[in-house]
């Protein structure tokens, strides 16, 4: 005996998909395009000395970076950045796991770690320049050393705070220590670790920019500083745009990796929020 006597009619779905796609795109592009238009108009009417019109910047971008400069300056910079980031993450996670699991070790190095983490990383550049000279290796090392602290400390935190019930479950099933480490401790710590990796990425980028702009004679950062010193404004801006693109690229790669590694974590959050 049902109470409802009329069927519920739902609207056909396909047109709505298109509508949703267009609204999303409109929202995504509306503000940036309007800003660019305003800037462009302003730039043509009253060009600021140091704020050229977007058109000129685009022109300079193509002229400067699409060519040999890409290979001689940009690629080495990016390679150094990538290598340094990988070193920082590897060392950070490995050392962080060890420190997090061995209690006396953690207590031993904790004040030192907190101090080293508190040092503003760019301050270390003159130190490393004095120690190692301005070599390629030094550039990688200083970026790695300066940026490994967030992921290191987050790993220590994450590894320490494994859920007690999960640990008891693992013990009750007699999992080996190796299994416990790779199947329980590290996955459980991965949200924290990824948060640390995110900070590490942004610190690494800062280190790369500063070390190249002011302590080096080659690289993307150096070129931008060179343009600034020689009042090549549009070229300087194009360099800044390129740096921005590098930053965005790092963010995109990180988001992609994080979504895959932490798919389960985001799943739980969604379920909780519902």
């Amino acid at each position: 005996m049902t109470l409802y006597t009329s069927t519920v009619r739902t609207a056909p779905r396909r047109p709505r998909v298109w509508a949703r796609l267009t609204t999303t795109t409109v929202y995504a592009l509306a503000l940036p395009i309007s800003l660019l238009i305003i800037w462009g108009v302003w730039g043509t009417i009253a060009p600021g000395k140091f704020f050229p019109a977007p058109g000129r910047i685009a022109e300079a971008f193509v002229k400067t970076w699409i060519g040999p400069a890409f290979v001689t300056d940009v690629v080495p910079s990016l390679v150094r950045l990538a290598v340094a980031i990988l070193i920082a993450i590897a060392v950070g996670i490995a050392a962080g796991t060890l420190i997090g699991l061995v209690r006396w070790l953690r207590e031993l190095v904790e004040p030192l770690m907190e101090f080293f983490r508190a040092i503003p990383p760019p301050v270390l550049i003159p130190v490393f320049v004095a120690l190692l000279g301005v070599t390629d290796n030094m550039k990688v090392i200083v970026i790695a050393f300066g940026s490994l602290w967030p992921v290191l400390l987050n790993t220590v935190d994450g590894v320490r705070s494994t859920d007690a019930v999960m640990t008891e479950t693992a013990r009750s099933f007699s999992l080996t220590p190796g299994q416990r480490l790779f199947s329980l401790v590290l996955p459980a710590a991965s949200p924290r670790i990824m948060a640390g990796v995110r900070q590490t990425l942004s610190v690494a980028l800062i280190m790369m920019v500063i070390s190249e702009m002011f302590f080096s004679s080659s690289g993307l950062g150096f070129k931008i500083a060179y343009f600034q010193r020689n009042y090549l404004i549009a070229e300087m801006w194009s360099g800044i745009v390129l740096l921005g693109l590098v930053g965005i690229l790092l963010a995109v790669i990180f988001t992609f990796v994080e979504r895959r590694v932490l798919r389960w974590y985001h799943g739980i959050k969604e379920v909780e929020r519902a």
Binding site: T169, T176, G267, V271
Partner: protein, 266 residues
């Protein structure tokens, strides 16, 4: 005696806390035969969980001994599986249901085929064969607890220990899960040690009910449940004998709470 699977003798556990010393368990003595389903009940705070942790080797007792299958228990023995109350924190959220059930099997020397068949069999037994590729957090509470049970079953332990596993589950699901436990016990002859605070559940499930006293805990009564092995939520719970037994257990618990029961001399 190969018949005796588990023997707990003069178990005592004393905690040091910031407020002083707490004697969680005073002196516990009981044994369990192979293939039995024993329920443990007691008033709140009587150290049921502490007792289970000592039996399962997760905690070291202050004195006394636990012997499982002839071997002294000082750390979690390999022939035992545990099902916790907090299923949400016991299942690994980064593994699928199948992954969770498979994990403890990885360090047993099994071929891939044997492992797969154990997993499939366990999932089928708890009714989750269709959810093998889901994640635990995508399932309801009752289903998650089934996953935990499947994980324990697939492990093929000598004894299955369950620590108030259905306390965090709604009543209807609890009834289904109780029947699942009975079915596993009858069909597979699993030895099960079941801790609960639910008196009706202990009588419905158990072949024996061990009633614990108030802290410092000792075994106040060891009651045999002489109901038929084939039990049913509706008919069994309506039996007069069921009511007698549960009333008796309830009275014992009340006495335990009031601290009226007196320990018999050694």
């Amino acid at each position: 005696m190969p018949e005796t699977l588990l023997k707990v003798e003069h178990l005592k556990k004393v905690y040091e806390s910031s407020t002083g010393v707490v004697e969680a368990i005073g002196d516990i003595d009981f044994s369990m035969r192979r293939g039995e389903l024993v329920c443990i009940v007691g008033p709140s705070g009587c150290g049921k969980t502490t007792l289970l942790k000592c039996i399962s080797g997760l905690l070291r007792p202050t004195s006394g001994s636990v012997v499982l299958d002839g071997k002294h228990v000082s750390s979690p023995p390999p022939n035992m599986a545990l099902v916790f109350q907090e299923y949400g924190r016991s299942l690994f959220p980064w593994l699928t249901v199948r992954g969770n059930v498979e994990l403890p099997l990885n360090h047993k020397k099994l071929s891939t085929a044997e492992r797969a068949s154990l997993i499939d069999d366990a999932l089928l037994a708890v009714g989750l064969d269709h959810a093998a590729d889901s994640y635990p957090w995508q399932l309801s509470g009752g289903m998650q607890q089934r996953v935990a049970i499947a994980r324990a079953v697939a492990y093929q332990p000598e004894v299955l220990i369950m620590d108030e596993p259905f306390a965090a589950v709604d009543a209807q699901t609890r009834a289904d899960l109780e029947d699942l436990v009975r079915r596993l016990h009858l069909e597979r002859g699993m030895s099960i040690l079941f801790v609960t605070h639910d008196i009706d559940e202990s009588v419905y499930l158990g072949e024996r009910v061990v009633v614990l006293s108030k802290s410092p805990t000792w075994v106040q009564e060891d009651l045999v449940i002489d109901l038929a092995p084939e039990r049913d939520q509706i008919t069994t719970r309506a039996l007069p004998r069921f009511t007698e037994l549960r009333t008796h257990v309830y009275e014992q618990i009340q006495r335990a709470k009031r601290g009226e029961a007196v320990r018999p001399a050694a």
